[in-house]
Subunit: 368 residues, 2 copies
Amino acid sequence: MSLNLQTYTEHFTNPLYLESGRILEPYDITYETYGTLNDDKSNVVVVCHALTGSHHAAGVYENETKAGWWDGLIGSKKAIDTDKYFVICSNVIGSCFGSTGPMSMQHPHLEPYRYKFPVVTVKDMVKAQRILFDRLDIHRVHAIVGGSMGGMQALQFAVHYPNFANKIIALATTYATQPWAIAFNKVAQESILNDPDFKQGYYDPDILKEQGLSGMAVGRMAGHISFLSHESMRTKFGRDYKLTDGLYELFGKFQVESYLEYNGYNFTKWFDPLAYLYITKAINIYDLARGFDSLAESLKRINADLHLISFKNDLLFKNFEMQEIADELKKNGNKNYSYIDIDSDYGHDAFLVELEKFDNYVKDALNG
Amino acid sequence: MSLNLQTYTEHFTNPLYLESGRILEPYDITYETYGTLNDDKSNVVVVCHALTGSHHAAGVYENETKAGWWDGLIGSKKAIDTDKYFVICSNVIGSCFGSTGPMSMQHPHLEPYRYKFPVVTVKDMVKAQRILFDRLDIHRVHAIVGGSMGGMQALQFAVHYPNFANKIIALATTYATQPWAIAFNKVAQESILNDPDFKQGYYDPDILKEQGLSGMAVGRMAGHISFLSHESMRTKFGRDYKLTDGLYELFGKFQVESYLEYNGYNFTKWFDPLAYLYITKAINIYDLARGFDSLAESLKRINADLHLISFKNDLLFKNFEMQEIADELKKNGNKNYSYIDIDSDYGHDAFLVELEKFDNYVKDALNG
């Protein structure tokens, strides 16, 4: 069966009340769907994206070659089987792929918000999606699945909309962002802010994409370290040199340097720096327990079946963070959760690249 | 007994033949001594400093409050006991605290070398020290001790001057810099190179120290992540906010952000960016096995008693790197080595801050 990829943008004129007390109004949400909604609307699977992801989670657009970011997981006969499920993935507010973010026009002006854009939180991102689903007349879903910041969203859905999803599957994520993740984000934020081409937020986005914002490239390089692991770096790069003209250069460039350069500078061609600042802020201030007396109290709200998946060598969201959620659930007497720690050398990137290590778990969790 | 701190600078007019094939000529080496040289010159302990360290390893200068970087380890009745040993610590060539580096004047011109400074290696740093000791009429020493890049120097001494030291003590270091360490250095290098105030190396050092080179600050922030560990960051910072006017700010600044900012920007006031580029390059290309068929072959050259100390949660030089040296020594049938892995939460910084965890080992290794 075909993937039946559809892309839409919904426009909302009602105010979105944000956690900060501020209002976003009006706003757009761009989203993508795969598969077919069944008659009783019982086959919806929501997929949530990570920091620099988008609504384009699966399939390949016409005239493009690169597939969506979880294409290996979503599709006909895949773990999230589009023959069976109707999958929805939306671009989070604050991002830069169609949903309203800092470079969107600030109504009624024809100028971008830039720093006037309000701070958004992961809870706000989830709330906006909940309103989108209302619009689509979907009031309960089969499952919500996400990794990294997508996993944060899945957990926020579980806590704040406890009767909305039957199942929650959260990968490579945490209950509250820990200092090492904040530290990596800090490097990127400072690097962007200090770049004179960033013009204190008053850059021309077209020129910036053309020339590449080196400050964001450097920040992204730091990010890439946190996405890898010592093991994967050793396997992938070792101390190999990048070959130039067939020569082994004694004092030349290492493969790992070349990898960071390529990924760092290339990133600036497709992501917006203000969106990067706003989303990393959202990640930093993410705390499932905010508004509750404790993490335990927040987790008590969860009614869905909860499936937690961590990766052993993840440097960004350490596996013990997921273990801590599982421990709290156990103490709470929750019987409807599972936790597995996947033995992978890939580090944080595993949730995007080593699908064969966990796709069966996702499949079983969805179908079980 | 007094520490007997003395600071000197020696000037050398003979050329220093570098590993790259280039020549450094003339050059200076600034060094410090503690304790008193005994009559038969049998009580010399050489201490080697890390990336941003200097010859000032112990004691407090007049009118200053901050002690040398290993003051807790070096002194009367301390692990490196200056009542007994005559300690020498020299600033490496390529650095910026008195020894010749990229901002030194390029003789006979009255202009700094800047990029005309040759690439130096850890082996070159060691060679220059060996020549300094010759000048001081010291042809054999009791021990060489160092951590991080200081440990690299200690190991290079052991391999290239096998009859020079009785004992080698190397902490928190490696036999060849691995891709994760190169990756952290890459972030710092790119960040410095991209900063317009760096002026492609043609900056005014006084102005730069005054205003602070933000590109180097950001690079140093990334460095600080690698010096810490997940455990130490959790203990030290958690998700605590920096208090401002006594208010707990919901969306304010995290302690970890404040720590990185302070250390990053402050660093630019006391370290030179070109020196940072040259020394990180030296670290990246450090490989004990260069010039040998294998690491095993290079290690076979060692005659000294070798003591290896790693730290369990070191993110920069992983404990398994030291284990690999120990494994090779064992395979080689070497009987004169010891290896211990210290249980510390401090990460790489442990060799500078958690002295009580290893000072007895250093003491025993020196005296045993």
